[in-house]
Symmetry: C2
Subunit: 462 residues, 2 copies
């Protein structure tokens, strides 16, 4: 497999152009206005898998957006790797903050990407990362270096909760049978210090609505005598954290795993500069739960964030109104052992319990998923570590991520196999933000590293 | 003047149709997109004053929207009445809650308006009410019953702060010289129990912005470690009221006039049913400052209401984002003696002082005005009271209103004359709300009552 790096260099331009084409498709799953593009994206993924060398590729219909399934079975006796990714992307807004059109990819250099980065929505999350696997397969097939069987499962609803995927997985356990699941949808510490994500936070996403009077009111005639849904919503949101920034929802922390001193000390070994962190975000101070470091706050501790809020008059100028309703989208990041459905219920009960007389509160659960931790002594993790060591020249550090890939715990439950999170992005790549990008070097390095995972995994005799 | 009622009956249809034409013009001063309509509205007002019998009508340019000035001077030795009104309207949103297009007037019966009401933005506030004065003038001129001089000043920026008006008034004191100012831009208790507004609340309207990180962030990767501008804004808003619903801005209540027991007892005589009030708004409880009745809360006590809030993802579906910024529009209703500029400064200082590390808070003052109280023993008030007594058959009750007409105190200061607030609308007319309407009966009753004010005021020998 030593010719992998030369193969990547020879095909570099084509690999980039192919990704750029994928990035031009606005496959925004959250917004029905783009459903045509999402479906179109599925077709394009199907073709790319066929070109790469899959024997059988199909677009599997679901209650929602289709799942693209492809496989290359060289010998049923050999182990099977299941590659998961998603072809949908987050909405690009606020669009005005993008330096280029989110769906007109541009390659520019950045401090952390001296060799250039591709700027576009989905560049890193997840088109750029899942496509590395397609290109890695292309190489292994073309060079007769594929050491085991491969299955691809690329979905179109990851950014909106993967509902159809769990439906699909539950009814296709045989079809999806595998020995290890491989996902590139996370980040690593830096290009100098690779890391493998061993933990993910769970998620509970809800929408809340506070209703006051049955119509918008004149704030002069009614102001002071009627509960204002915005003031009340603000008050309710504020009361969800105490003075130590701990979440006040009763029972919220009951099942949170408390790491011991050794484990916490181990975590703190990961290179991290608080100054650089604050500088990169242009903030004078971090802000979070008392008694935990920044790295702990974003990995082993649960959170409650308002992701969106709206109500009343938000247009030009002024309107002296007390609105009938106020709304917010709220998400909680959960840690292993917290059950997302249970937490959602606790939130729902608490939110309703703190609504004062004069308003009605409604909570609509949106979606969620469980947290996940993978052991670093598994053959899959070891194979991945060796692959990184081979291409980066340094052993990757195991790291907990603050993000959520809800379906990972679903996979373990339904398919009984471990997931290895081989991410090649950087936290500074601005995923879910304006000007999302993915390093050209990282993209090519990923294509180069993945085949080595197959090699070491097959050799491990799994 | 006994033929006024028959004159109104004979011309009823025409009076309604003329008002309906005015209501078709979307003269929304807050939204620049409608500037053409606002300017067009000024032209239409000019023509209506000419038709009604003004000798001299002009459209006076200002730094903002023009002011329509008209006059009918029959004898400089006689007293002069200055009529003020505004031809601009509030934005109609949320448009989806209107039963008819806000600018396609419809006449429908309602429980409080068995003879029908005109549904349209501006029907009561203030097109329907200022136009009563135009029609009253038409009658007095046509029937040679005009007992004194009249001046009209109709502006186009009342809903956005009347900035140009104060500029205009300050440089036209001679032109606007008068003995009493007459305004119909308020309401009365009911069609059975008329009332005259003797007090108005002041206003301070600001826009606030809370900035956290320099870009939107992924709530998984950064959630828990970075101050979320929405959570912080909610916390800051919540901390602006204490557990007794008193405003916590230091110094806010320093100049608030405290009424004595007699005055408060007098106020409570106004007919009011808390059950009906709650039923009309479909709320299970009122909500406000501890120790004060609903009527007091909306008249003699200051307030702080959020009129609009926005930030983060508010579109379809879900987006797990920590936004860079969150915003709110906040207005405070003030009572006599509170200086709106001073209060705005106090708010600004306090809001900035409670912003935690990790965010930056910005306050942009929008507009404001002083509160106002008019004595009930003035000749103007007495003339108005007699006019109502004449047409309603019952003496009106003096009443403090919770609303604000900032320019009233400006008039007193610059033109040294008292303002009489002869309002004919009802609180249930939904001004500033979807489905604003104005009773046909009230409209015609107003046209009938206004000439009597002129009669009694002229006779009073002012």
């Amino acid at each position: 497999m030593d010719n992998i790096s030369s193969y990547v260099q020879e095909n570099k331009k084509r690999f980039l152009n192919e990704l750029i084409e994928l990035l031009k498709i606005p496959s925004i799953s959250a917004d029905p206005a783009f459903s045509h593009d999402v479906l179109n994206m599925a077709e394009v993924v199907k073709e790319s898998l066929e070109k790469a060398g899959c024997d059988k590729v199909e677009i599997c219909e679901t209650p929602g957006y289709p799942i693209v399934y492809g496989e290359k079975i060289i010998n049923p006796a050999l182990p099977t790797v299941l590659v998961y990714g998603h072809y949908d992307v987050q909405p690009p807004d606020p669009v005005e903050l993008w330096e280029n059109d989110p769906f007109s990819p541009v390659i520019k250099e950045t401090p952390s990407h001296p060799e250039g980065a591709i700027f576009a929505r989905g560049a890193s999350d997840d088109k750029g990362q899942f496509y590395m696997h397609v290109k890695a397969l292309e190489y292994m097939v073309a060079s007769h270096n594929l050491p085991c069987n491969v299955k691809f499962m690329i979905e179109g609803e990851e950014e909106i909760g993967s509902e159809s995927l769990s439906w699909f997985v539950k009814q296709n356990q045989d079809k999806l049978a595998n020995d290890v699941i491989l996902i590139s949808d996370t980040g690593m510490i830096s290009n100098e210090q690779p890391s493998i994500t061993t933990g993910l936070r769970g998620l509970s996403y809800v929408e809340v609505e506070v209703t006051g009077p049955n119509r918008d009111l004149h704030s002069g005639i009614y102001g002071g005598a009627v509960a204002n849904p915005i003031n009340i919503l603000a008050k309710m949101i504020a009361s969800m954290h105490d003075e130590h920034n701990r979440i006040t929802v009763p029972g919220f922390y009951d099942k949170v795993e408390e790491l011991n001193t050794e484990e916490r000390a181990e975590m703190e070994k990961a290179p991290f500069s608080l100054d650089k962190y604050k500088k990169a975000l242009d903030i004078d101070s971090v802000y979070g739960e008392l008694g935990y470091t920044t790295n702990e706050r974003i990995s082993i501790r649960p959170t409650l964030d308002v992701n969106g809020i709206w109500g009343g008059y938000t247009g030009e100028g002024a309107k002296t109104v007390i609105p009938a309703k106020a709304y917010a989208k709220i998400s909680m990041r959960l840690v292993p052992n917290q059950d997302w459905k249970e937490i959602t219920q606790l939130f729902q009960d608490y939110f309703q319990s703190i609504a004062p007389k004069g308003v009605r509160a409604k909570v609509t659960p949106h979606h969620g998923g469980q947290g996940y931790v993978t052991p670093i002594n598994s053959k899959g993790y070891q194979a991945a570590a060796m692959a990184y060591k081979h291409t980066f020249g340094i052993t990757p550090i195991p790291q907990r991520s603050g993000g959520s890939i809800p379906i990972v715990s679903l996979f373990e439950q339904e398919l009984h196999s471990k997931t290895i999170l081989m991410g090649f992005g950087l936290n500074s790549d601005a995923i879910h933000s304006p000007n999302e990008h993915y390093g050209v070097w990282n993209y090519l390095k990923g294509i180069e590293t993945i085949p080595l995972f197959y090699k070491y995994f097959a050799e491990s005799g799994e």
